[in-house]
Point group: C2
Chain length 196, copies 2
């Protein structure tokens, strides 16, 4: 048996250490105060190691966040046949997630990157938002088949109606994030989508 | 007549020069690349002059933006008696504004500040978003009196339903900003708010 180090494995260990360091530092210091130098020091790697894989601080933090919210291939929303109850369950969980201080720093950091960098915004849509939206739309389609949502409803717009108010309220800190708020968004959206 | 310089007037000239320099530089370089040094150089003032009035780059750029979108005391929305037509007019104008490349840089810079700084977020709500929202709610109240919107509708939530999807679509660059989009948002929102 050889005792040579395995470069691929060592490389993957360094990559994971960098991602973990980035997550920790963003949570401790906030996005603005985190530097590539600090991430390298915390991860125990050289700056050049980071720049071999990522082109900017934003790109590292984006990947750190992406790894955190591992989107599986098989996201599905609950489907009890009652679209209102199912959406309220999902929206209450989403509102609780946004209201959780532990999610605050990385999600805000992610949004900073998305605002500033159209390429990262496209990556975010492709890798993260896209698959999740597809799962949500599958549930809405099931509700369309059940006659609970208008057959001609624009489902992309439906998702915006449901989630964008929560996102904006969180981003601008313009109102409370409560279970009642989650329910109100579901009720208004379903009223807007009701069949004629 | 005295020829002594007027310190108050000179001071105000410097302030205006700083705000104009900040606006120009954000539009030319993007928020991330603008520094206090560059603003001071362009405005022809010392860095210490800027720090006398503002505590950070973000605060300067926030004020520069605020001065640009001077919110008068007397904003009113059109009221022809037809809430759908009036809101479509307003939303089409808002969508066009967001789609205008000239607004792109300062509005994105403003949002960066709001995400990062809860104090600036509060200022933004008080000085900018608040008065505009009040004007919009006055129009919705008029529609409530006319029986076009449910009397018990939550008007803050109504505004979120109407504007947040546009805001998120613009911020994440996740879809086209068209007059058709403006109309669709108005139609869905009014359906959600319809009296029973």
């Amino acid at each position: 048996m050889s005792k040579r180090p395995d470069p691929a494995r060592r490389s993957e260990r360094s990559r994971q250490a960098v991602l973990e360091a980035a997550r920790e530092l963003v949570s401790e210091l906030g996005y603005a105060k985190v530097s590539i130098e600090a991430i390298a020091a915390r991860a125990g790697v050289g700056k050049q190691t980071i720049y071999r894989w990522w082109r900017s601080k934003g790109a590292v933090i984006f990947d750190a966040f992406l790894a955190l919210s591992q989107v599986g291939d098989s996201i599905t929303l609950p489907d009890t046949g009652d679209i209102e109850a199912d959406l309220k369950l999902v929206m209450r969980a989403t509102v609780a997630e946004f209201a959780d201080p532990a999610f605050e720093a990385p999600i805000r950091a992610l949004n900073m990157e998305i605002i500033n960098d159209p390429d990262l915004a496209a990556q975010y849509r492709e890798k993260l938002a896209g698959p999740v939206d597809e799962a949500k739309k599958a549930r809405l389609r099931s509700a369309q088949r059940a006659g609970q949502i208008a057959a001609d409803a624009d489902l992309d717009l439906a998702l915006e109606l449901l989630y964008a108010p929560l996102f904006q309220r969180w981003l601008h800190r313009s109102g409370p994030l409560t279970p009642q708020y989650a329910d109100a968004l579901v009720e208004l959206t379903l009223k807007a989508l009701r069949p004629a």
